[in-house]
Symmetry: D3
């Protein structure tokens, strides 16, 4: 396709809308953190619901991070930030880890990694 | 459930995580606006994709706004802001309207209504 | 948009298929009610499943009601029925409330509110 | 599981809520029929949207019919109505066929087959 | 539609891509089987997650099998294999049954039925 | 959970079911390739549907690859295969690229990259 003739494989976006925002991942992760903070005080059935809702939110965290990694990040970004792949890998793995726990330290660690992603993201603007 | 004993019908949240953010609607609407700005320059097949992607994003805009209206807004908010229902109704209707058009004035009108929602939302904090 | 020049903002439907039916919400709510009626007799794992399935069905109830409110209801309806917004708000809030409980009185209250929506809906035909 | 000890394989429902309704399939199919009736008068972009929306609705038609076939229909139903499998097979195939066409005769044929399903369904009550 | 003029109702595929594969159902069912094998050793919250994840995977199993039954299977297949409908019915019913249990014998029975589907599928190539 | 005590952040799976299979990505990509091979011969409306179906299938390709990258790949894999991150990045980017084209060379390139992923995957068994 002509439009991408200079870097045909590394198109920067599935459709060139130009809108990416790590806040999408952060908001979902904050919701998980909020759930974890209240988890011990929930009744039995709300605990089941909390675990289920966390699972969905964390899947969204993973999705939003994967999209930035695959669709927004370009070869020049990876060149400039050699551990970029590893940052996204650790962040999405931590989202998976947070599914297995209701510990606020796990959701906090996830928020910290998303903050690192945001910092990098802002540096590319 | 004790927590809701005073106003059992108007529970403020489906699970008390306390995280709501009109930015979720705004980010999706900005993506639609970005698509509209580039629409005329797209090739035929990307136009089809643009219409399809807009449809999905605008459905998300509606969903995020509905959630704030139904789950976050409480009776005291409605008392304090009598046209609150109408604001959300016009905003979600405008999201539907924006599905039918690739005109930036339609996506801009949507962004303006989401900004009104955000302003109200901030005022409740 | 010219096409809707008589009622430009308040197009009555995202695509003019003309098909809306509160029965979609009612059927999902009846399923939740049926689950609540059998809940106490379920074994442990089916209780977890019941809570999860209720959550999904009630999300569908909310969705179907929101669609009627945003897409079907027109300004003349709101003028004729001033508490229309409030009816939909209470009905969708009750769907959220029913997620937090396996009490048949909560699912019955939801069915009653959907019946009110249906009655209004029929009156507009 | 005791509850299903007599016919362990042919459990009549994934969770015993007891609520099934062919109207769910019918409402989606009517929406497709409504779209087909208006299709020729739509502008270019709404035609794309119509094809996309039809696709989703018809997938829902298939899903709702499959659920009744697999979850509601019991061995005694199949014994009593030997061509029951074939009826559901033709109905779901017709839903697939209706994706490929915007001809009202295709959506009408689908509605007719769903009416046959409904008639059988009512006969089992 | 001309393209399907010889067998207008029994189009073999919703879009003629020609790709079907019972391995999609098998992989999801193996995941359920793997969960069942480890179920007793999981902690309480991972048990809830296991039940929820099983539910989703088994819904995918049903979907993949239904697609092969409705979209791939053609009238000549049914003529050649008179119990084809029944095989798919038992297989999808067993997927529903496996939602209600964490017993490896239930997931094994499902895998066996999917193996029968695969055997038939291969025989049609 | 004992299993993760040595490398708590790098859990190898969101739930220890142990089932991963690059064939899930391959089957979806083959479907896209099949569509591209027939694309020029489709009528206008089936072309729209083809573009829409390709979009969904390619999103599934991305998802299945991301899951293997984030959930299955472990630190020892990355150590042993230093360009592993880059392989998954190029493969998921190519899936995005294939959304923008109906050229069989784009879907073939995607299939080739998935074959590389499979080869690596098999080497870890």
């Amino acid at each position: 396709m002509k439009k991408f003739s200079i870097a045909p494989v590394y198109a920067h976006c599935d459709l060139p809308c130009g809108v990416y925002d790590p806040d999408q991942a952060r908001i979902e992760a904050e919701s998980v953190h909020g759930i974890n903070q209240k988890y011990d005080g929930l009744n039995q059935e709300d605990k089941w619901r909390a675990v289920m809702i966390k699972e969905q939110r964390l899947e969204l965290v993973k999705h939003h991070l994967w999209v930035i990694w695959t669709d927004y990040a370009k070869p020049e970004h990876v060149e400039a930030t050699p551990d970029l792949h590893d940052l996204f890998w650790r962040a999405t793995k931590q989202a998976g880890q947070a599914k297995k726990s209701t510990d606020t330290s796990d959701s906090q660690k996830l928020l910290d990694l998303i903050a690192e992603v945001s910092e990098w993201f802002e540096s590319t603007k």
